[in-house]
């Protein structure tokens, strides 16, 4: 059977710099930062006391949860994931099934790293006090990794595969490739894909301990996330969720859905923690392999890529990433595509990063723009030695985009690269 073409028909986002597609679109167009000072991190003696966390109005949650669910909801990842996921589904014009109907053609692959840490913390205290019976009925569902796909599945009534993937900071991008594969192979008509990540000190603490966070901008939070800059000295932790409805072109056309873009496909691999790779650092040869495989799998010529939404976290690995893109695509200087990092505005949203950043990429295709990098006035000389400064916009450029690339790289030396194309009927 020939492969099904796959398109994007719905978007949802719950990002530090915008909850909901309209607010988020405005934020990325205008370079609005979602990084704020976090008193709790200061009180707990964190080196990095700034972070990105979506701001959720209290009354918003009633639209996504029953009063009973809200009563003891403590998993921020589930909160963010539900907002993004349900929004994407509704944006696609898809119905929520009634209580006697299951939609066997629609599935969910929604990733996360750790889920429900606040809930888990409470459960640990109660358990250690010998009060295990006091844990109640929702400790399991709020702390199991697949809690997010389970909450979404129950809300929407999906009956195809409903699961959660986890590959550290590659998670959000990987979920898109997994959902794409499922539709392309004819196993599902629609897949809700994306990723979410809890917020808070118990998520971010381990990174602070590794000394990979930026400690130098606690008094200037919005300037703290500095991908590709000379003085990039660590990432700013983030949180949130991004979601996309993937759908076979056939299904999208049959119900006259709005098509945001086509998913050409991509590639996923691991550097095996060999050569330059380790548990926490990417093997550059494998990164290049992944990018080249994505080109090959989608029959895309490197010269046709208009813009790249990079991983680019600001830990000091940005020049290496730029070199990998340049070598893999065989493009440099003025011939390099545009490149940007959403993390300059949101921080690193971990398991949600790839999905929030892909939503931004699809908005670029939809609106004909390349969003500008903020905090971008002193690009690392190792980067400008490879690519022209003009390819790293610090203001949004309005320009038709035909093909956009998105890649994410995660702990465990895992990589994923996706390619998206403007859809022309």
């Amino acid at each position: 059977m020939s492969k099904q073409r796959v398109v994007i028909t719905g978007l949802g986002v719950c990002a530090p710099n915008g909850v909901g597609i309209p607010a988020f679109t405005e934020a990325i167009k205008n370079g609005i930062s979602g990084i704020r000072f976090q008193q709790q991190l200061a009180d707990l003696n964190f080196g990095c006391q700034i972070a990105g966390q979506p701001e959720i109005p209290d009354d918003l949650l009633k639209e996504y949860f029953t009063p009973l669910q809200l009563r003891d909801l403590e998993a921020t990842g589930i909160t963010y994931g539900m907002i993004a996921g349900v929004d994407a589904w509704k944006d696609a014009g898809l119905a929520i099934t009634d209580k006697d109907t299951v939609d066997y053609d629609s599935g969910i692959i929604f990733g996360t790293s750790l889920l429900g840490v606040e809930k888990f913390r409470k459960a640990i205290y109660l358990t250690d006090e010998g009060k295990v019976k006091r844990l109640g009925s929702t400790t399991v569902i709020q702390t199991m990794a697949s809690g997010i796909s389970a909450y979404l599945g129950g809300y929407l009534g999906c009956g195809n595969q409903v699961t959660t993937n986890s590959s550290a900071c590659t998670t959000g991008t990987e979920s898109i490739l997994m959902g794409y594969d499922r539709i392309a192979n004819g196993y599902a008509k629609r897949m809700l894909v994306g990723g979410c990540n809890d917020a808070g000190p118990y998520i971010w603490g381990g990174f602070d301990a590794m000394r990979v966070l930026n400690k130098k901008h606690n008094d200037q939070p919005e300037q703290g996330s500095r991908p590709m800059q000379s003085d990039a000295g660590g990432f700013v932790p983030g949180s949130g969720a991004g979601a996309l409805v993937l759908e076979s072109l056939e299904s999208a056309l049959s119900r006259n859905a709005t098509i945001y873009a086509e998913v050409l496909g991509g590639a996923v691999n691991s550097g095996g923690q060999r050569q330059s790779g380790s548990m926490t650092a990417p093997n550059s040869i494998a990164v290049q392999h992944c990018i080249k495989d994505a080109m090959k799998n989608t029959a895309t010529h490197p010269q046709d890529i208009d813009t790249i939404n990079g991983h680019l976290t600001a830990t000091g690995m940005c020049p290496t990433e730029i070199k990998n893109w340049s070598d893999a695509l065989g493009r440099s200087g003025e011939n390099f595509p545009y490149i940007n990092s959403l993390k300059s505005m949101t921080g690193h949203c971990l398991a949600a990063a790839g999905s929030i950043e892909t939503v931004a990429t699809i908005l670029e295709l939809q609106h004909g723009m390349v969003f500008g990098n903020i905090n971008c006035n002193d690009i690392h000389p190792d980067i400008t030695a490879i690519i022209a400064k003009s390819k790293i916009p610090n203001k949004t450029i309005h320009k038709e985009i035909h093909i956009a690339a998105k890649a994410s790289f995660g702990f465990g030396d895992v990589n994923c690269c996706m390619l998206f194309k403007k859809y022309n009927s």
């Binding site: 029953t66 009973l68 109640g136 009925s137």
Partner: protein, 84 residues
């Protein structure tokens, strides 16, 4: 057995939170079966028990939970415990 209306009202208030959308608090009678008639999710029974324990300041054992299938049987267990 004479029913303690204070306890009944308190229990109704607790149960109300766990009712699905299509069941109203007015549907609750002493004879209502919590799962079969009021359609309370069986997983939520442990939460009902926690709320009952908190409200009445009592402890309910696992074998007693199994006997709490109707509103009346729950009230009976509560009144025994509260009397002690």
């Amino acid at each position: 057995m004479t029913m303690n209306t204070d306890n009944y009202d308190a229990l109704k208030k607790i149960i109300k939170i766990y009712l699905p959308e299509d069941v109203s608090v007015d549907d609750i009678t002493p004879n209502s079966h919590l799962i079969n008639e009021l359609n309370i999710n069986s997983a939520n029974l442990v939460d009902v028990v926690l709320d009952v324990e908190d409200h009445f300041d009592i402890t309910i054992e696992d074998d007693e939970i199994e006997k709490m299938d109707t509103v009346a049987s729950a009230l009976e267990i509560i009144s025994q415990k509260v009397a002690k």
